[in-house]
Symmetry: C2
Subunit: 552 residues, 2 copies
């Protein structure tokens, strides 16, 4: 028997597109003589559909699309994911369901039992948990069909306060009572560079423990913040990886059940996980590409300062969108260092992108003059720095509006964490590209960009970080060195350690307390920040919901 | 026996303050000879603590505070709410718990069984549902202690697709098996002007059905978006309201159980619900007041256009903060109508607030000039309108930064819905005061402000709405009349009706489709909007989570 994995990139609510993708894969699988083609979780609406699930018309569109696809399943079966109405009088209105389609109709369905409701997941907001655990007979095989979290009944969390066993039921244990031949897991697992090995281990441990091979089908592509890394897996009954589909790319792969049952592990080259920097790089490029493709935009604009953050974002944007779709604005002021413009120009020329230079001094002087009567007798302070940052945002947004480009935000996670940025200024943008990348990782990514030849100018990488909003300003005037800052931030944000347990070289309690104060004080800025491409286990945005008025 | 209700205003994570509030009420109850004082849900951390619940140090602070308060409970008992660690190996890490404190220690605890996870609620994100239903013996009475949603096993939703019975268990039905004498419900129910009667009916229907009196203790005050309306209730065994505590104010009230059991209904004057406009007005004033108090700010700045939205927000701010803490900036341009400045000045003088006038034409000309080389050969369009709105935001934020005022946003729900506003321009601000108030409700609130004498100038109320960003511009150039627009918006956003079922006088399908397109297209703007004071059943912000890249 032949089985096909369809690792695809769905677009939320774009039913015609998702249907076409799925039907094309069914055709391809047919042409390869496949018996069964497996798609990922909620492939019909795309994942995550969020509150579109509250709309009856949206659910009806899902149901209709499932029926249409079922009609295509003749001579081949398909497993697809879709929400379906819960007809019981009690409970949430929907189930998160996997269907086996065959002979032109729905043959079986399985409802997801474990509903992740933490971090970026809100599945219990919409879905009633399934509580039936039966295997599906299919051409002489017994399939244990599970949906994503159903195999994650035990999992490691970065926050050690989090329980490893969030659920009182283990769907796989229940299914094992019916002696399945294969575990199938359809998923929509968002990428986090700290979770790639853990994810493999979930599948490996289940296969090994129950001595049953496992097929995981993940989606790929990005939907705003969430980036799906693909990397669908075949694992044999010894818990060895037989085959891995590519990271972040679509792929359709057909294999025989003999390959799966024979238990031959794939070679290291084909199944290993790339390093975290390479993965983050791919994830960010995917994130940019899909945000534009799925919102029907082609072009972006970036404010290029000569610093490393905007240089990195520019390189990622060129890779994602092509140099013809990327333009930059250089906006020096009286406080810019001499090399700021030259470094930025060198990069823009190397990448062969359109760029313009507008000095912001005239606009700044106009505001100073207009505000003079109101500010008489006051000292210069952060107000004047913010005015400069906001003038730059006006110029960038003007180009964005006039030419239909999306402004890419270039703030990194370290500065966003401590509020080192201006709301409606450098915090502006349609998408935050590196808002989940700490400054220390920004350097690694810059080195990765330069791995074959220098693209980002050496000077941009080596100069001391500065906002250049007042004479001689350096980031370290206000912040600890990034190495120390990032370690504190990681322990506080990702690991959620209490202040007294945040430790490390060069870290003292006063610094920890001051950094935590900055993080907490600046929740109000992050509330209005653009969506952030998520690459860590705890990104700003929907995965981290903090009260603005807390005194803690 | 005497029981005291403590309807209080807690501050999230401010343990010393919450403890003081609670201990003061315990003292007051003691002095009134009370046997039991009842506080609201999660009064120890304040509600909603959101992801602070993911921090072990935060939970330890809760536990410690509960222990400290228990020590104060000598000669009196208290019911308080706090999160507590779930010691079972499986399940979510916390319970949402009500404690009975007496004799200096914790005597009983009850875990919330029904965990609202919809709209603005995310309780299953943190809490394991309780599944024990026992009455608490207390001085010869049997108390059925429930927490908020526990009595909402059946409830009406504005979206008719939502199920009325979200849960398969009814805690009250379970507790009735143990024949309680009183149902106690401690709650943290956020205000929605469409839900005040429904809320009463929940309590009335339970009392009536089971012929048991009910005591509800709600919190009051606001935590960012969420405003708690107080209105704690005593309901007798006939389902009649015996007593209602005030809306939106703190109150401590002691009564005898005889009063509750005797079944005498309170008179209409004391127990009736005020009209929706009066409630919304009180809610908004409370929301502003507490946002400032709880973030430790006193002063606000408002951009005053001469239009009705900013006029209303100014009046609300003066009521919440006092005229000495409110200042305004009038920022006319070449496109402002003659009366814009005079109307705004009349209002500012009537309210006796500090105001300044800065004409934005010079700044606008500077930007036009600087952008001229980039924009050569293009037509004027929304770009130039946005530049003006963003110049105003720079000026407002400059005053905000220089003088430590919070900028209050003045966008109404109608314009926010359809994206009729400029990101980083008039959409800026620390708090959106009327972002959950449709334009038609803005007029009603303005009339309410003027109910005794004209405060908002007649001309401000009667003139045709205009953004004044190009010559002769009117809102109706781009949008349907507000009466029609608001009806469509309400049916789409609150009721979540499919397009084909949105109907009413003057509403045709083309208009409906065009409005829905505008709503969906502008999700990206709302993503970066300030927090919105919530007064409806479906406010923008955390209660409505829409994918940005959806094609639907």
């Amino acid at each position: 028997m032949k089985i096909t994995i369809a690792q695809q990139n769905y677009h939320i609510g774009n039913f015609p597109r998702n249907k076409t993708l799925i039907c094309n894969a069914i055709e391809e699988a047919k042409s390869q003589g496949s018996d069964l083609v497996i798609f990922s979780e909620l492939c019909i609406p795309g994942y995550p559909p969020l509150d579109l699930l509250d709309r009856i018309d949206f659910i009806e569109k899902c149901t209709q699309t499932v029926d249409e696809i079922a009609k295509e399943c003749k001579g081949i079966a398909a497993i697809i994911g879709s929400p379906v109405i819960n007809r019981n009088p009690e409970g949430k209105k929907l189930f998160n369901t996997a269907y086996l389609l065959s002979e032109g109709k729905i043959l079986f369905s399985v409802n997801k039992a474990l509903l992740p409701t933490y971090d970026i997941f809100d599945e219990y907001r919409y879905f009633e948990p399934g509580n039936q655990f039966e295997v599906i007979p299919f051409r002489g095989l017994r399939l244990a069909l599970t949906i994503c979290e159903d195999v994650w009944d035990e999992q490691p969390f970065d926050n050690e306060f989090e329980k490893q066993r969030l659920y009182s039921v283990s769907p796989v244990r229940e299914l094992m009572k019916h002696k399945p031949d294969i575990i199938i897991n359809i998923s929509a697992s968002p990428f986090s560079h700290t979770k790639t090995h853990a994810r493999d281990n979930i599948f490996i441990s289940k296969s090994k423990k129950y001595k049953v091979p496992l097929i995981n089908v993940n989606q790929t592509g990005a939907n705003t913040e969430l980036i799906f890394n693909g990397s669908s897996l075949l694992v044999n009954a010894n818990g060895q990886i037989v085959s891995r589909l590519p990271f972040f790319d679509e792929a359709i792969k057909t294999f025989t059940t003999d390959e799966l049952f024979s238990g031959i592990a794939g070679d290291a080259d084909t199944v290993q996980i790339p390093g975290p920097v390479e993965l983050i790089h791919k994830a960010l490029v995917t994130g940019i590409r899909d945000y534009f493709a799925k919102t029907n935009f082609r072009k972006c604009i970036i404010g290029l300062s000569g610093g490393i953050d905007s240089a990195l974002v520019l390189c990622l944007a060129v890779e994602a969108l092509g140099n013809e779709n990327v333009r930059a604005l250089l906006m020096p002021s009286r406080f810019s260092s001499e090399t700021s413009v030259t470094d930025a120009e060198v990069l823009a020329r190397r990448l062969d992108i359109l760029y313009d230079i507008i000095n912001i001094d005239k606009a700044f002087s106009t505001f100073e003059k207009e505000l003079e009567p109101l500010f008489r007798g006051t000292q210069k302070d952060v107000t004047e720095e913010n005015i400069q940052a906001r003038i730059r945002a006006i110029l960038l947004m003007a180009v964005s509006n006039k030419y239909g480009c999306i402004l890419l935000n270039t703030s990194n996670k370290s500065e966003v964490s401590v509020g080192y940025g201006t709301l409606y200024g450098d915090m502006a943008g349609g998408l935050s590209v590196i808002g989940d990348v700490y400054k220390s990782e920004v350097y690694k990514l810059a080195d990765y960009i330069n791995r074959e030849k220098e693209i980002i100018p050496h000077n941009t990488i080596t100069k001391l970080p500065s906002a250049e909003l007042r004479p001689g300003q350096l980031d370290t005037d206000t912040l600890p060195e990034y190495k120390i800052l990032d370690s504190i931030l990681y322990q506080y944000i990702e690991l959620q350690k209490p202040a007294e347990r945040i430790t490390g070289e060069g870290i003292d309690r006063a610094t920890v307390d001051s950094v935590i104060r900055m993080i907490n004080y600046n929740e109000f800025k992050r509330y209005q920040a653009p969506p952030v491409l998520r690459v860590s286990s705890k990104s700003f945005g929907d995965g981290r919901r903090m009260p603005l008025v807390a005194r803690y």
